[in-house]
């Protein structure tokens, strides 16, 4: 804003074409706009009534929204059609300063500012180092106090030798429970209502056949009476793989449609998942309950740096 602008006074008469409204019939336009404003006022007041008497929620939105919309339309139309149509102009001055101002500015910063630092290098260095040290150290409480370090936690689940498989109500699964083609989400007994049980230990139990089923070499005892258990955590991003298509014998992850072949150890044969779902080795105990032989043989869920 330079001093020249103070001198740019200008006068206009009301008949100046720039001061004329855009509308060809301003009085009619004014009446129409007044009408929309009145509708807006009525609707806004109606919102008050609707709120007072607790009408349905959609009436709140229609009255409030419609009212403000009409009022806004009125004000906008006033500005567009009834106010001076212009066009008006103003000068756009160079933002840059004059060469002399630049010279003074540059000199002030470099010579009075940075130059002073250069003359006392030791002090400048120590001050800088101090600020740097403070900056680094001040991040420590901000970051480290947030939570525990991962350590071995990503690898641990609640499944151990002999753990009973229970459903979401805590009822232990018996070998006679599922028919062939059935699926149930199971948790370690006692952990079905805990965060860890639901988030990490969640497992799907599928009955593929009536007889012992081997998914891969080395897993001959893992599928007693046709019961197969896989970790429910998708190895892509950890969504629960709850979608089972029993004729295709595929587990499909609902998030990004990775497809796991249940018959061969949940090998992903489509989609972005990189690794098969870990299989939980099972056995049927003397009373017929389905239990885990052991925990999972690898960390469950998506990959991370420390996973070997």
């Amino acid at each position: 804003m330079s001093d020249d602008d103070l001198g740019s006074f200008s006068t206009a008469s009301p008949d100046d074409p720039h001061m004329q409204p855009l509308a060809r019939h301003p009085e009619r336009a004014e009446q129409l706009i007044a009408l929309t404003m009145v509708i807006g006022i009525v609707l806004v007041v109606l919102f008050g009534v609707a709120y007072w008497y607790n009408w349905k929620p959609w009436t709140f939105g229609v009255t409030l929204g419609g009212g403000i919309l009409f009022l806004g339309f009125g004000i906008t139309a006033w500005g567009k059609y009834l106010m001076p149509k212009g066009p008006f102009v103003e000068e756009r001055h160079d933002l840059r300063g004059t060469d002399e101002e630049r010279d003074l500015f540059g000199a002030a910063v470099t010579q009075r500012g940075a130059g002073i630092l250069g003359r006392r290098k030791v002090l400048a260095g120590t001050a800088g180092l101090g600020l740097l040290a403070f900056g680094v150290v001040s991040i420590f409480p901000l970051l480290r106090s947030l939570g525990p370090l991962p350590a071995l936690t990503p690898t641990r689940t609640g499944w151990k030798r002999g753990t009973y498989l229970v459903d979401s109500t805590g009822r232990a699964i018996h070998v006679d429970d599922l028919a062939v083609g059935g699926i149930v989400t199971v948790y370690p007994m006692g952990l079905q209502d805990t965060d860890q049980g639901q988030a990490t230990d969640q497992t799907v139990l599928i009955r593929l056949t009536d007889t012992n089923y081997t998914t891969r070499p080395g897993r001959e005892t893992w599928g007693p009476a046709g019961y197969i258990a896989y970790s429910k955590l998708c190895t892509h991003l950890g969504c629960p793989v709850g979608l089972y298509e029993q004729q295709l014998e595929q587990l499909v992850c609902p998030c990004h449609q990775s497809m796991f072949d249940v018959t061969n150890g949940a090998e992903p044969d489509f989609g972005p998942a990189p690794r098969p779902l870990p299989q939980l080795p099972l056995y049927v105990d003397g009373r017929g309950f389905v239990r885990a032989q052991n925990g999972f043989d690898q960390p469950v869920g998506p990959g991370y740096w420390e996973r070997s």
């Binding site: 804003m1 103070l6 740019s8 200008s10 009301p14 720039h18 709120y51 929620p57 959609w58 009436t59 939105g61 229609v62 409030l64 929204g65 419609g66 009212g67 403000i68 919309l69 009409f70 009022l71 806004g72 339309f73 006033w78 500005g79 212009g86 066009p87 008006f88 102009v89 103003e90 000068e91 756009r92 933002l95 480290r144 947030l146 939570g147 525990p148 370090l149 991962p150 990503p154 989400t185 948790y187 988030a199 969640q202 892509h236 991003l237 950890g238 969504c239 629960p240 709850g242 609902p254 990004h256 449609q257 989609g271 972005p272 690794r275 998506p302 991370y304 740096w305 420390e306 070997s308």
Partner: protein
């Protein structure tokens, strides 16, 4: 009573003003704040009128609506994952153990009067906010408004877009429902996938393994305080730069690099801006009342072993979802470590590249075109075919990622196998941008070659002479087509209202 102690020539007594009580108040303020000089500049400031300059205003006004409705919501929402038993109005939830966050969100929807309206307005305003930022950014990009001296403003804008998207994700995760909780699980895994520091970042942010009880209160404070503070600061800076550098304008009659043609702040731009603000708020309120969004009572409370099919993030996160779906399952394992590239690349590298490319575009273009002059006049997109085609190609790439996030909907709708649709998406994401570039380039070049392209065509009146010859004569210009036939003049400081003509007693002059 005279105030001649200090101050330059105070020729007028500051108590009296020929402009009535308003003028008196202005003088008092000027005594204290010195607003006369700068205020006049502001009041006379010219804003160019083109309609595409108002797209950023949509974003600004929806941001204001977000803050207003957001404050209402904070009065009722409790950001706690502690379990409570729900005893409210919605029967299928009664007796369930849900988190306080979910319970208070449901109470907002069913128990608080106008609570559902506020929730829905808040959510619609967010979707519109980010959408408006995107088309505003597109307008800025395609008209070259990011060039010197406005690179900083453009960078601030891109940062606001990223922060807006992040804040939207945090916001819709706050109710702790099944759909958004799945998104939080995915966010945890994405963080985990970062090499070397992934698990540390994930555990530090979540306060332990997933899900923990710290994440929602943290999301809440970031969503309600940290990011809005940054956004308000950035919006202020964005607008300040706009006022200081003055808005750009399209070339046209009377417009040069050294002037601004348009309407002054007072009264015309203020009226249009205020009116538009009301219309944006009104549209959001209408949507909030008539169109249901995020019905969390139908989704249920988030439990980590539950999932729904066809779960999608909000629209502005769709490009992440699409990239994650189509990326092949490349995972690198070696030396006792794993890098899940099928997560790391689509979720972090690809968006990183896209946003960095957008943010660095002013620098890239300046280097490529060797153009370091100050530009206050805009380009028509057709006049810069390479920039327009490149922008269209990048846009097409991101758009295809959005389309890829709806593979299951497409498969369902078109009865094509999901597997086929996914493979098609993998191919299209690469092919469509590649063919968009030359097509858009060609369109721009052709539009340049056609005079008057894009303008309303004049009708031709066909007449037949007596000898049988057909003549086509352009019709008269339609009223409004030659709207700017007036030369621009400076904003008048004084309006010379003539004294009324003396009237005969007993007569009354009526204006018609």
């Amino acid at each position: 009573m005279s105030t001649t102690i200090n101050g330059p020539s105070s020729s007028k007594q500051s108590e009296e003003s020929p402009y009535g009580p308003v003028g008196k108040v202005l003088n008092e303020l000027d005594d204290r704040l010195g607003i006369a000089k700068g205020g006049r500049g502001l009041v006379d400031k010219i804003f160019p009128d083109h309609w595409s300059f108002m797209l950023g205003e949509i974003a600004l006004y929806s941001f204001v609506v977000l803050i207003a409705t957001g404050i209402f919501l904070t009065l009722y929402y409790v950001p706690s994952q502690a379990l409570v038993t729900y005893h409210g109005a919605y029967t299928p939830l009664r007796g369930q153990q849900v988190s306080q966050a979910y319970a208070t969100s449901i109470d907002l929807s069913f128990g608080v009067r106008a609570g559902l309206l506020m929730r829905q307005m808040h959510h619609w305003a967010c979707d519109i906010f980010i959408g408006a930022m995107v088309i505003h950014m597109a307008r800025v990009f395609f008209t070259g408004a990011f060039r010197k001296p406005r690179e900083l403003n453009y960078t601030i804008g891109i940062t606001m877009l990223i922060l807006g998207i992040l804040n939207g994700f945090l916001g819709y995760s706050l109710p702790d429902d099944l759909v958004s909780g799945t998104g939080i699980r995915i966010a945890f895994s994405i963080l985990e996938s970062i090499p070397v520091v992934g698990t540390y970042l994930a555990y530090l942010l979540f306060g332990g393994p997933f899900p923990g009880t710290a994440i929602l209160p943290r999301f809440y404070i970031i969503h309600v305080l940290l990011i809005p503070l940054i956004l308000i600061g950035m919006v202020t800076a964005h607008l300040f730069l706009l006022v200081r550098q003055k808005h750009t304008q399209f070339p046209g009659k009377g417009r040069t690099e050294h002037n601004v043609v348009g309407a002054p702040m007072v009264p015309i731009f203020a009226a249009k801006a205020t009116g538009f603000f009301f219309m944006v708020a009104g549209a959001i309120a209408l949507l909030g009342g008539l169109a249901q969004i995020n019905p969390i009572w139908q989704f249920g409370y988030y439990r980590a072993s539950n999932i729904s099919y066809a779960v999608q993030p909000d629209w502005y996160m769709g490009f992440l979802d699409g990239a994650l779906r189509i990326w092949p399952s490349w995972e690198w394992t070696g030396f006792g470590h794993t890098i899940p590239l099928e997560v790391f690349i689509p979720a972090l590298i690809v968006p990183g590249i896209v946003f960095t490319l957008c943010a660095l575009w002013p620098t890239i273009e300046a280097k490529y075109t060797k153009d370091t002059a100050v530009h206050n006049l805009l380009d028509r997109p057709r006049d810069r075919p390479k920039r327009t085609a490149a922008g269209a190609a990048i846009f097409a790439f991101v758009f295809m990622l959005f389309v890829a996030s709806s593979t299951d909907v497409l498969a369902n709708f078109s009865h094509i196998s999901l597997n086929v649709v996914l493979w098609a998406m993998r191919v299209l994401v690469i092919v469509v941008p590649l063919i968009t570039f030359p097509i858009v380039y060609k369109i721009c070049v052709e539009l340049q070659g056609v005079p008057g392209a894009g303008k309303r065509k004049r009708a031709n009146i066909v007449s037949r002479s007596e000898t049988g010859e057909y003549l086509a004569i352009p019709a008269e210009q339609r009223p409004g087509d030659g709207h700017h036939e007036l030369d621009a003049e400076t904003v008048p400081s004084y309006i010379d209202f003539q004294d009324e003509e003396p009237q005969d007693p007993g007569t009354r002059r009526v204006s018609r």
